[in-house]
Amino acid sequence: MTTIDIPRLPAGRTLRLGVSRVGYEVKTYFRQGDSVFFTFLFPLVMLTIFSVAFSEQNFGPDDAPLSAAAYYLPGMLAAGLLLSGLQNMAIDIAGEKSDGTLKRFAGTPLPVLSYFIGKIGQVFVTGVLQAALLLLVARFVFQVDLPTEPQAWLTFAWVFVLGVTTSAILGIALSGLPRSGKSATAVIIPIALVLQFISGVYLTFTQLPEWLQNVASVFPLKWMAQGMRSVFLPSGYETLEAGGTWNLEGVAIVTAIWLVVGLVVTRMTFRWIRRDS
């Protein structure tokens, strides 16, 4: 055997290519009509439907009325995290696996890490735009009072960043589940939908049966929604939560555990291609 003198690739290219991938991913995301509707605009559509349908209803006590828009805003923000991250990533990557995109990458010097940076960056950019759009519409169309204390926005920032990252990583981890790109939506959307229904996004969490609350508490969406409620609902609503507290420590811990689970599963299962298919 001879010695191999293959020229080394320049250092720092993983990050540079990751940034280049973010731009590419965001561009292609917005050119894909169905993903824009089902992941990007969906929470906004739902917020609008609830706000209009229940416009006459008061969701708060008589002395401190709360509009439907204000009541549903935190849930829709949490749903946005789940859709932009988990649902979008799982379907997107399953599709790229089956249409040959990943096979092409496997034959290029693109580092897997740059690909992931691109994906997570795409989720982050679209998630931020989605949240901004939800907040703007809530504020200026449905006249929802947004918090003014910096503390509340600080909580929003960490719940958002932790939530969107966890959701994206879990989506990458779940992308191996569908057997083909065509079945991806059929496999992933029901998972996301069930999670939304049991996690207090569409239905009031504390009105669910206790066993269902316990089941939902295993998964991260319930905690992300709780974190968002702590930011946007009046402080009096804290007593309505399970245990009468926003339990932000719980939000951080459970979400972070899922982040680690997602990273481990991704590390163990993600391959550009199945080598012996």
Binding site: I6, R16, S20, Y24, D99, R104, G107
Partner: protein, 286 residues
């Protein structure tokens, strides 16, 4: 790695899927700068061979070296020196031709200029069109463009011209000739024997997972397979004679009707090779 060492070296390559043997001891070398055509019927093992060398599949046995590296263990540095045009692609293609090439050029340390590559594959007019809106043949040209954008030392072309019209195929041939002049080593599989004859320096014929012949394009099949055929008609009856001295035969015949001297094309030789192989394996099965 010295320049005299083969760019691709394969010894006794084997690949089995369960009880099915896809490759049964294939050996060949490809020298630097050479264009090697791998020919064979569908399912003969061409793509299995090329995908093992590209690092896509594991081998079950034997040795393989590509640019001095075991393709099963090639890292990013190794991939940066390869160009791969896969047999089929079906990406959604929500980017334009130019965007895609510019993006992929960034993956390589010494990429070709995007303009140059777009011109080389003849897609100047379509460079601002989304890839998904291109015709099949145009998309195939994008595949070829992506295969050469990184200025590869070794280019894999797995049935590159499927779906090309004759003009596009000629253009593609010119492009490959230019790459050859620049010293690119090429491994080509194709169903078009005229393409193999035009582009290839050497060829291997694979059937049933085995290399049944290998050699320079104009020596494939051995001297016997190349014996010309003289065809003519006499009194309405078709005659045909294989002879190593066609000139003498023609001189003897004078001016018969429909006189033709036919040199077996690569296609004729290939079909004879594969046909003979298939007959011999049928015999073995009985």
């Amino acid at each position: 790695m010295t320049s005299s060492e083969p760019v691709v070296s394969v010894r006794d390559l084997r690949k089995t899927y369960g009880s099915f043997t896809a490759l049964d001891g294939v050996s060949f070398d490809i020298a630097r700068g050479e264009t090697f055509a791998l020919l064979g019927p569908n399912g003969a093992g061409k793509s299995t061979t090329i995908e093992i060398l590209e690092g896509y599949r594991d081998r079950s046995g034997g040795e393989a070296r590509v640019l001095g590296v075991d393709p099963g263990k090639g890292g990013l540095d190794w991939k940066a020196r390869l160009g791969i045009v896969l047999q089929s692609t079906g990406e959604s293609g929500n980017v334009t031709v130019r965007e895609q090439l510019t993006h992929f050029a960034g993956y390589y340390p010494n990429a070709r200029s995007v303009d140059e590559v777009i011109a080389a594959v003849g897609l100047e007019e379509k460079q601002k069109t989304l890839i998904r809106k291109l015709s099949g043949g145009q998309r195939r040209r994008v595949d070829v463009a992506l295969g050469i954008i990184g200025r590869p030392e070794l280019l894999f072309l797995d049935e590159p011209t499927t779906g090309f019209d004759p003009e596009a195929r000629r253009q593609f041939w010119e492009l490959i000739e230019r790459l050859k002049r620049e010293g690119t080593t090429i491994l080509l599989t194709t169903h078009y024997l005229d393409e193999a004859a035009h582009l290839g320096d050497r060829a291997g014929v694979i059937a049933g997972g085995r290399l049944i012949d290998i050699g320079a394009i104009d020596e494939l099949g051995g001297a016997d397979a190349r014996v010309p055929v003289v065809r003519w008609r006499e009194n309405g009856v078709q005659h045909e004679e294989r002879t190593t001295t066609p000139g003498a035969l023609v001189a003897r015949l004078g001016e018969p009707d429909d006189l033709q001297v036919i040199r077996p094309s690569l296609e004729d030789i290939y079909l004879t090779l594969v046909g003979t192989y298939e007959k011999s394996t049928e015999g073995a099965l009985l």
